[in-house]
Symmetry: C2
Subunit: 382 residues, 2 copies
């Protein structure tokens, strides 16, 4: 009897915790703590930390995608670690070391497949999102970059060493790969437009970018923005801009210039340059508020204490903020009423009202870098 | 001892249920059962019903918005009922009868305010999203229609009887209302573009539409598409199309014609007509797949057993489906890989693969009408 009672008591101690475990996941997010290999689970609405979870390995260049139900975050570490974090239990559900050195990943539109881009040994590996078992291995004999998902259970990526773009279609039993050569010298990053139509590759080895129309019957590379790049007379390039930072604002993309104190405005249909705005430093991310009315820009060292806000109608800088040392990343709430940014060397997250530019709060974090909200689960190509 | 044990056993019977209650809400949704005043909670990923919840009153023209954490659905009934449904406990959390006759609602960008559009007594009432307590009452002495949220804690709506558009700014303590007269004769519906910039009003009493640029310093009505409407030689109009159905596909909107077997293609920037596609019937909803590649269209009686899919590049109908009697509503999964549609008189929901057009499954439902997925929480103007 006592044994049964003890068992019952033990069970019952768990009951209140379980009853508390109603976790609606729509306004959660994660913050990468790069130096400590840990992740903060945060609540956007409460502007608070829910939990710190440790054991993610090397997060020095980490990124995150989410399952469609927004229960799980897949954290891609630099050391080849792929870690599945359960936001509802606030614990690691699974973890595999899938390569020696990796650089980001993507999740298929149906949420069933997680793909990882590898430097060592190169190639892309694709895993079952439930079990993290290997589903497909796409060796490239080159470092892969710019891995994105595309509609129809596809992944698109490019190769640094060999200048190729691969389109992998996982909708059938065996992957169908379309391999396109001569994309340009040393692709270093890429993006897919929010509608999944255009894949655009940035080149480290030459000026200009390479664009693909993925809706075309025959998919072929087209060179765009011939003057985009380091050029001859550019300033020293402290850090190549992130192309995922391409922001669609109305009918124009906003693009960080390479090695210049400028952002470029690009017509979204013709992909031609239509204007420039002078900025405080060399831009890293230019991120449009979800309504496209403003673009927030952060900068490379030594100007990385500053954030500027550009009005997309006038193209003018309308606000300058000085959050603190090493602003690495910015994330809008999905409907754009707030912006969260990481101040790495200040060991904090700051939260802003995007209407008044007032600082609403701060959250302590250990060398925070990327901030990722669960609403990303519902967008393509992130 | 026995009493304690009984209590413990009683508690423990709840424990497994509570432990099961980890409900990640990102891929849930609700289906309106219009004849029975009930709502199905569904799971997109599982293609299954999670629960049926009853007691919502008259749902003959119901719509739904979601809290930012995707835990709560706010169901707007025809009888003035505003019901807050908890998706995690699958029960009604709160319910108020806030008017005698209502026609839809909206939730502010910060998720704090829920607004309802009323026919009787007219006007718009705004409620605290937590408590459903009245926060602001905006009497108009007219029926209100076309209520939408806009960035910056704003709501926009129009008046049927008096032809006005009101912009209510709830960002300060007291609502600030901008009231614009002479919008046109009998506004019957309106929409806001996904970026929150343009508010477009459909007119029952005359041809053409009225558009507002909400980003302008001085917000004023502009008449667009002068030939859009019933005209003189049109077919009998069985049902005015839903303007929320305006679909942005690339750089064009797709718009159901009034009283014609056509959809219209509208340049998203100039708002001028750039083409038409002949369709099977009088279109009700023209809904773009999230990537904008295809538009799915359903029709008014007597053609409401049919759905057509239009390719947005060619403008051609590429597929005709016959789901069954009275297809009322269509909803894409947020990344577009599936479409759910309601077949009212077939008492079922059907689910399609949007790549192959294959039917993947069916769910029984009692006279289903609207289908609403929780990903809507993260979009403006729905």
């Amino acid at each position: 009897m006592i044994r049964i009672l003890t068992l019952l008591v033990a069970l019952c101690f768990d009951a209140p915790a379980a009853a508390e475990r109603i976790v609606a996941t729509g306004d959660l997010g994660v913050v990468i703590e790069r130096a400590t290999g840990s992740v903060l689970i945060i609540d956007q609405s409460e502007m608070a930390t829910v939990a710190r979870v440790e054991g993610f390995g090397d997060l020095s260049h980490a990124s995150v995608v989410f399952s469609p139900d927004q229960r799980f975050a897949y954290v891609f570490g630099r050391d080849g670690g792929l870690t599945k974090l359960d936001l509802t239990t606030q614990s690691i559900a699974n973890r595999v070391i899938q390569s020696g050195n990796a650089i980001g990943g993507a999740i298929s539109d149906d949420g069933r497949l997680v793909a990882v881009s590898n430097y060592d040994p190169g190639g892309v590996r694709i895993f079952d999102a439930d079990t993290l078992e290997l589903v497909a291995d796409l060796p490239t004999e080159a470092k892969t970059i710019g891995l994105v998902d595309a509609p129809g259970r596809k992944f698109v990526f490019s190769t640094w060493d060999t200048g190729e773009t691969w389109i992998a279609d996982l909708s059938a039993e065996l992957p169908q790969v379309t391999r396109i050569e001569n994309v340009g010298i040393n692709p270093y990053d890429a993006l897919i437009t929010g509608d999944g139509r255009r894949y655009i590759v940035g080149l480290f080895g030459e000026d200009g970018l390479t664009a693909f129309d993925l809706w075309a019957d025959e998919i072929k590379p087209t060179r765009i923005l011939e003057n985009y790049g380091k050029g001859d007379e550019a300033l020293p390039v402290y850090k190549m801009p992130h192309l995922e930072g391409w922001a669609l604002a109305g009918d124009r993309f906003v693009l960080p210039a390479v090695g210049h104190h400028e952002v470029l405005w690009i017509d979204a249909q013709s992909l031609e340059e239509v204007g420039r705005t002078k900025t405080h430093g060399q831009p890293i991310f230019a991120v449009a508020r979800p309504d496209g009315r403003h673009v927030w820009v952060n900068y490379a060292h030594p100007d990385n204490d500053t954030v500027e806000v550009i009005d997309t109608l006038s193209g003018e800088v309308i606000r300058t903020l000085k959050p603190g040392p090493a602003v690495l990343h910015m994330e809008f709430t999905p409907r754009g009423h707030r912006l969260w940014l990481s101040v790495r060397d200040g060991n904090r997250i700051e939260i802003y009202d995007t209407g008044t530019f007032e600082k609403l709060g701060e959250i302590p974090a250990d060398t925070p870098s990327g901030i990722f909200f669960t609403a990303r689960a519902h967008k393509s190509g992130l």
